[in-house]
């Protein structure tokens, strides 16, 4: 009952961004996102894929409610609890790994049992260490543990495996798949790495260059837990062809 890894109340995520601009250094507005619309069913795992600098992180920050300066609508249920994993692990350097994870817990949840979560992510023997003493892979694990510890209704992941060894990244991806399947949390991943998206997600959204909008949306056949390396490679190849065609379509029209 008090285990962090039981399935929570998954909720759908709906986001519409009609327009989002930033002011550039010389004061002129730069449009980053236009006519973007996304709906994720409760418990599904979506991936936003796009080139670097296309506005993926901006979209994720809006979905997290961290940026409210946009035209459009973010629709999420009232009592939303958000777990977020950032590109840099963003741990408090002055607290131990365990403190970092426990500090994120809401007061009424502070006695939740995290042992299994720690074990699943291989953090068991590193809980008393400070973030400055961890490898990047371990720090990322701590960041992921923090996001799951609060039993989120939504999980937002911003390039959580970038600049890791492929072997480490791949293992972390399978652990993430296991955790999301088990907790059935509605998840949105931002990545520039197609194979990563194919390994993890059941719904892909391909973004255009700036200003970002969705140029292709694709469901992947379930179950996502058991996709082999070959399957991932062949789906990815197929997706690349589809995206190429979609982009040509835009150019022609």
């Amino acid at each position: 009952m008090n285990d962090a890894l039981t399935a929570g109340d998954a909720a759908p995520l709906e986001l519409r961004i009609d327009a989002k601009s930033f002011l550039s250094a010389d004061g002129t507005p730069v449009e980053v996102v236009r006519d973007f619309q996304l709906r994720l069913e409760a418990g599904s795992f979506g991936a936003l894929i796009g080139p670097s600098g296309c506005g993926k992180t901006t979209i994720l920050r809006i979905a997290a409610g961290l940026d409210t300066d946009f035209r459009g609508q973010l629709r999420t249920p009232g009592a939303r609890r958000l777990g977020m994993v950032f590109q840099e692990p963003r741990l408090l350097p002055w607290r131990t790994v365990e403190d970092n994870i426990r500090l994120a817990l809401p007061v009424h949840q502070s006695d939740v049992d995290l042992t299994e979560l720690f074990e699943t992510l291989g953090l068991g023997s590193h809980l008393a260490r400070y973030p400055g003493e961890l490898s990047l892979g371990l720090a990322r694990r701590a960041g992921i543990a923090r996001a799951f510890a609060i039993r989120p209704d939504f999980l937002l992941l911003d390039e959580p495996f970038v600049s890791l060894d492929e072997a480490v990244a791949s293992r972390l991806r399978s652990e993430l798949t296991a955790l999301t399947t088990r907790t059935r949390v509605t998840t949105l991943l931002v990545t520039h790495h197609l194979e990563e998206a194919v390994q993890l997600a059941d719904r892909l959204f391909f973004l255009s260059d700036r200003p970002a909008r969705i140029i292709l949306e694709k469901m992947l056949p379930p179950p996502r837990e058991t996709r082999s390396a070959d399957v991932i490679a062949s789906i990815s190849q197929e997706m690349r062809a589809l995206v190429a065609r979609a982009v040509t379509g835009i150019v022609q029209s």
């Binding site: 977020m84 408090l92 002055w94 500090l103």
Partner: protein, 246 residues
């Protein structure tokens, strides 16, 4: 440790030789001073005067740190507050300590409130400037993390803001403590009927060098004790997480 002991012993030796050569009431030797100090401690006079001074130091230090942290944080976080208060800060920084003390005594009266406030106001701009730097350097990414995980205000202040400000608070309390000590003595000299500053003032009018030296030495010792027993351990604690295993 040993070089320090040797250097201190040399200082005392120079003093003893100079006093022996001068043979003057205006430069008593170390033994005379030691005897005078012991007598002052036995009579309870020295502990009482030191306690008066210490209480003023604690009071004005606390006020300066509290107001300075709030002001510095506000100026570091808000451009509007910084633009508005910066010129006030410049005026305050350049105001001679003596002027602030005189204003306080004239406007508030020759009382304890005026004395403590005068010292606190002298120390205040230094705290503001240092904490403002700290507030400007707060990590925006960590802040965003705290927002995403819905940290409330008290959790944010305790676990996100204070640890980042800690080195700045430590630096300003270190430099601040020595400023406060020194200004408290001037305040006491000018308008208080007790405290180390008052004693030094009356000893000065009597040319009582023995008394001046024994108070000065006890005062320095007390400062060093506070520095090493209070300030340094607190600083070490605040910086514990920076230690890396080798």
């Amino acid at each position: 440790m040993l070089p320090r002991v040797i250097s201190l012993a040399a200082l005392i030796a120079v003093w003893a030789v100079a006093a022996a050569l001068a043979q003057s009431r205006l430069l008593p030797g170390p033994l005379t001073i030691a005897a005078a100090t012991l007598a002052e401690i036995r009579s309870g006079e020295l502990p009482f005067q030191m306690a008066c001074t210490l209480a003023r130091v604690v009071g004005s230090f606390a006020i300066a740190m509290l107001l300075g942290t709030l002001g510095g944080y506000a100026m570091g976080r808000s451009k509007a507050a910084d633009r508005f208060a910066d010129s006030w800060l410049v005026v305050l920084i350049n105001m001679p300590a003596l002027v602030i003390i005189i204003f306080a005594y004239i406007w508030i009266g020759l009382n304890e409130t005026a004395a403590i406030l005068a010292v606190a106001i002298n120390k205040l701009p230094n705290v503001i400037v240092v904490v403002r730097e700290g507030a400007r350097a707060l990590d925006a990414e960590i802040d965003e993390m705290a927002k995403a995980f819905q940290f409330g205000p008290s959790k944010r202040i305790r676990h996100v803001v204070i640890p980042q400000l800690a080195p700045y608070l430590a630096a300003s309390s270190r430099s601040g403590l020595s400023i406060v000590w020194k200004i408290v003595l001037v305040v006491e000299l000018l308008g208080r009927p007790n405290g180390v500053g008052f004693v030094l003032g009356s000893a000065f009018s009597l040319f009582d060098m023995a008394r001046i030296l024994s108070y000065a030495i006890c005062f320095i010792v007390l400062m060093l004790v506070i520095e090493s027993l209070l300030v340094q351990p607190l600083e070490r604690r605040a910086n514990r997480w920076r230690r890396r295993p080798t």
